[in-house]
Symmetry: C2
Subunit: 457 residues, 2 copies
């Protein structure tokens, strides 16, 4: 019996038919939201408790079997592909909301809870969980990739919003990191070491996150610009003025075209900002007026309000459907999503140079992003069977990422490293990368946890 | 020649008379802001650059000499005592502000820059650095202890505000962690591993922190209460209502008495809240009115505004002089400062039980704190030569800390662990403590960096 067979046999004894080696299930668990073909694991087990995850991990450690944690599979940088085979631990059935502490404005959930499920559960409490990466990702996966999204500019990312974790370490040990106090100086910040570790240091089985009061008033606005520079300058001035916008999203002309077609809207095909304001009734009006004035100074046109909830939802739904809208531009092609983040003072320059690259390629590639943080995305459409397309998309991505890093930015603002962005970490982190490797080797000496991701050892 | 002598000789060759073994200097560098007698290092070296710190650390590593980084010595939990002798690296002369990026709202400083120096430097930019632990601490020390203070409730702690670090590791290697992009998912969060590591994992030689726009309007208010419960309930409701107070400080009757005497004020000797609001002209009025209404519901009396800058400064100066005011209550005694932090839902109960303890002791012990975060302090006055006082203060501190931890809180909200709070980490962290020890052993296998602090290995 091979090590793998032994692991599967032992796990079967533990969880019965919740472990499977069926091809369809394996295929599904090797598929992420990138353009790459699936890399299925050897087996998939649906875990139901912290203790069960611990027992499974112990079996894997004893049999030297790689472990890949899985949420909903919405990651984009090759986080879940079974590069070295092994067992995928699917956490989607650990989807209980364990404790809402409304008074403390926090909630403890199992990792399989999705962000929409959480907000649905919270609807009568007056509270909400703001982190919103677009996809209905699991809280476990969002913690693992240090996700953020449209309203991180106001509410922060998973880095700021995870308070505490229960983690199963690579030897099966269960630990609790952090706590529900809003601050602490009691020792090393293990919580933030695990946030963003992409399944390479341990598996999260409970996650406590911050909640926020649903604002008294919300309003949205949309505004288009003659030039993308005008839109970006509006963002920069807004942030520098300290206006607490909740969301400030840029979509370029290509993206607006995609969105109009897909969502049957008729916005001008021009660089556009989509904004949301949270506050008191008076506060959101004050904020929106300030931004409107800034936009006008930068060639903004047709500044339109959407205070009615329905209209607002329609706008943001269209934004959230971006990926589908983009795919519909060239049916049959695959999307190559990528994201970078730069200091906001370099955002205009970074976007301008990127748009130059895009003007000179045959690939269609809408640009959009959470520009209030200096974070933007390209979604490049390719035919993955065409080596020319693949080479071109890799070339463009390489230029984009290295440009962002050279401007003091990062190779990924929110998607994570996975296996596809590892090659950029050396340029970004230099010798600090050795310390990351040391931490990985110390915590996971067998290199069992999601091997081949984030770091090469 | 002993190892230590060899280290000092080599360092002398490097920096000349910037290394000293004079008793007065050593004594000063073994003295913190706690009641404990000094624990002087064997020598003190005033470093002037990252490269120099690296060279000194390499000499210490080669000679197995303990290293203690030093800022201004304002820490309170025995962070700087030379428990195992060794070389103190004083960073106070590395006090250059290296780069203000006003557009990106961040600044890079050397570790010896103090928070007041930084804000003085920034005065013409319209920006400020909000983290304010009371003392004019160095940014390096504040990073090392994960400091916070009065306005963390709005602007966060050093955890949220440090963007990037240059760190000299225990083998002398220089690394750069984090970056100036507002968010990143590119690998392990080394920055936050170092923030709060209290000199045990490396020495910070450059620190990049976030800045904020000076608010258009600021106002302060003060309000006293019949009962401490009324004051605490006002805090809880204010936070839960999402009112973005910039500061919300509680002082009990003993503290108000101390403050009146020391600062020649005549506030009622009663539990008191001191508040500050930041925002637009309309916004601060709106916030203050909401809090005033909440206070009135909870027995708040004499709600007084201080919109004039001078009056506001007087109030906050008195608050900042708390330690001196407390010491003046019983001249000749020493202050035993301690702090805990609990989830805000447990704050009233935690304070009530603590006040019961204080009612039953002979020690004078004002209670005050940054209650918006659930964080409060006791400053207990003792005669350190009197074993009864010492035993009593240890007993009270023990009860306070274990009570906070049992309520889901932490043994220290902002002072750090140092050597005096190590005994509580087991109760707070359980098995996670083993992971902290593993990290320490991996990064600092010789246990050279501030040995005997945070963790026993």
């Amino acid at each position: 019996m091979t090590n793998l067979e032994s692991a599967v046999t032992q796990i079967k004894a533990l969880v019965g038919d919740r472990v499977t080696t069926g091809m369809a299930v394996r295929q599904h668990h090797g598929t992420d939201a990138s353009w790459h073909p699936p890399l299925p694991p050897d087996a998939v087990v649906y875990a139901h408790s912290t203790e069960e995850v611990s027992a499974i991990v112990k079996i894997c450690a004893a049999t030297d079997t790689p472990i890949i944690p899985f949420g909903v599979g919405s990651s984009m940088e090759g986080h879940i592909g079974a590069l070295k085979g092994g067992i995928c631990i699917d956490l989607s059935e650990m989807n209980q909301i364990l404790a809402v502490h409304a008074e403390d404005m926090d909630v403890t959930v199992q990792p399989g809870v999705t962000r929409k499920q959480l907000n649905q559960h919270l609807r009568d409490t007056g509270l909400f969980f703001p982190v919103d990466p677009g996809a209905d990702a699991s809280i476990g996966g969002m913690t693992a990739t240090r996700a953020s999204g449209t309203n991180a500019v106001r509410y922060g990312t998973m880095r700021e919003n995870v308070l505490a974790l229960t983690v199963v370490l690579p030897d099966g040990q269960i630990i609790h990191t952090g706590g529900r106090a809003r601050k602490s100086s009691a020792g090393y910040d293990l919580t933030r070491l695990f946030v963003g570790s992409e399944g390479t240091l341990g598996i999260f089985t409970e996650i406590t996150v911050r909640l926020y009061g649903i604002p008294e008033a919300t309003s949205s606005a949309i505004c288009n610009f003659k030039t993308i520079d005008g839109a970006v300058d509006t963002v920069i001035t807004t942030i520098q003025s300290g206006i607490p916008v909740a969301r400030i999203e840029l979509m370029d002309d290509t993206q607006m075209d995609a969105l109009n077609r897909y969502s049957k809207l008729d916005y001008p095909v021009a660089p556009t900002l989509l904004l949301e304001f949270h506050g008191t009734e008076a506060g959101v009006i004050e904020q929106a007026q300030m931004v409107q004035a800034i936009a006008a100074d930068n060639g903004g046109q047709d500044f339109k309000w959407a205070t009615v909830a329905e209209e607002r939802s329609k706008l943001w739904q269209a934004r959230h459907d971006s990926l589908w809208a983009i795919l519909a531009l060239q049916p049959g092609k695959q999307a190559f999503p990528t994201d970078v983040c730069v200091p906001i003072s370099r955002l205009a320059e970074c976007i301008a140079e990127t748009k130059k690259d895009l003007a000179a390629t045959w690939l269609k590639a809408p640009l959009l992003g959470h520009v209030g943080d200096g974070n933007f995305h390209l979604v490049m459409l390719i035919d993955r069977e065409d080596p020319k397309d693949v080479a071109e998309v890799e070339r463009l991505n390489d230029r984009l990422v290295r440009r962002a890093i050279s401007m003091g930015g990062t190779c990924t603002g929110e998607h994570g490293v996975g296996s596809y962005k590892m090659k950029f970490l050396d340029q970004e982190h230099g010798d600090a990368l050795n310390l990351m490797k040391l931490l990985k080797r110390s915590i996971d000496p067998q290199n069992l946890m999601n091997p081949g991701k984030v770091l090469t050892l």
